[in-house]
Symmetry: C2
Subunit: 208 residues, 2 copies
């Protein structure tokens, strides 16, 4: 029996550089699948439907919640965000690892469900840097940036929800660390399946 | 305050290729320290005192146990093996990671002490291969090889004592995996210390 794929849950406060980082991760490990969330918020300028999010209407979103199609969903400000169960389990069963990009609220929901996976939190190098990156976008008024910074701090205070922390100073190094985490977690004893049936049997005999 | 070094405990059944593997690990990550155990067994042909083991007399070994100088020690067949506490704590306090090469019995002792560290078990690709490598040494009679194989199987059945399993098919790949495990475990949330004091404070505020 092949080893199941690993769900890799990644969060970051906005401005920590998650988008660039995930794009680079995708390039460096093409075998990795990425789950695309659904949202009712309007797409930002450079976001593409089906790639960054599935952008849908509130009515459609609520129909999906009624049909229990989400692993987790949350209302943030006035918008809904959700991760569909569909495809996740089948991807993992095929032995493919899957990245789930979730906000802190989504992770709280998964932890409540005791959802098994590897939880990684991306940290900014400093609050100063976080503020700079939020300002750098140049698309939002000061009051909104202040608000985002407060939300960011609150999210960082929830770090304990995660198994691993990666401070994103340099994208390549952060991706190196994430790749190491994935490689290491696939060797974790409680999920490791040696190829050799004989060895597997001996290990299992000791587990009883 | 700098992050403390990580104790990395590595075991393998004899014939799994641990010696070559650790030599390569040392070359690839020179910053890593290696703890050298004490033993009362005579050195094998290519073993060097102070490098592979500290070879000492039984009388001296027993004096050391009396003085509580060992983190753990065990009697295996007719010989004593032990890991001295000295240097371990000071190395770790300096922020240096330290490899402790221990047999399964030593690991059982450390687990009983709830000693915090990263526990890695090196597995042979198959029993066939293990036997081949034991035979390949050509230094021991058949009966002894059979006995070592039985000991090896027993050791493999204790895999659950470890956090990670690495099947040693190819030395370079095994070392890659060990390096990934070390990198990942240094990012583990419960021991991770972000450089930025502000960020650290926010994380700690959430831990209460």
């Amino acid at each position: 029996m092949a080893q199941e794929g690993l769900p890799i849950i990644i969060s970051a406060p906005s401005g920590a550089g998650k988008t660039t980082l995930l794009r680079s991760l995708k390039e460096r490990l093409p075998a990795l699948d990425f789950s695309v969330s659904h949202t009712t918020r309007p797409p930002r300028e450079n976001e593409r439907d089906g790639e960054d999010y599935h952008f849908i209407s509130k009515a459609d979103f609520l129909k999906m919640t009624d049909r229990n199609e989400f692993l987790e969903w949350a209302k943030i400000h006035d918008n809904y965000y959700g991760t569909t169960l569909k495809n996740i389990e089948s991807t993992l069963k095929k032995g493919k690892d899957l990245v789930l990009e979730l906000d802190v609220q989504g992770v709280e929901a998964l932890r409540d469900l005791k959802y098994q996976g590897v939880y990684i939190f991306i940290l900014p190098p400093s609050l100063e840097e976080l503020k700079k990156r939020l300002t750098g976008r140049g698309t939002e008024p000061d009051s909104q940036i202040r608000q985002r910074l407060e939300v960011g701090k609150k999210e960082i205070s929830k770090s304990h929800l995660y198994d691993f922390a990666v401070t994103n100073v340099n994208v390549d190094e952060s991706v190196d660390t994430i790749l190491s985490i994935i490689r290491a977690e696939k060797s974790r004893m409680n999920r490791y399946q040696p190829d050799c049936p004989e060895i597997r049997k001996i290990i299992e005999s000791g587990n009883t």
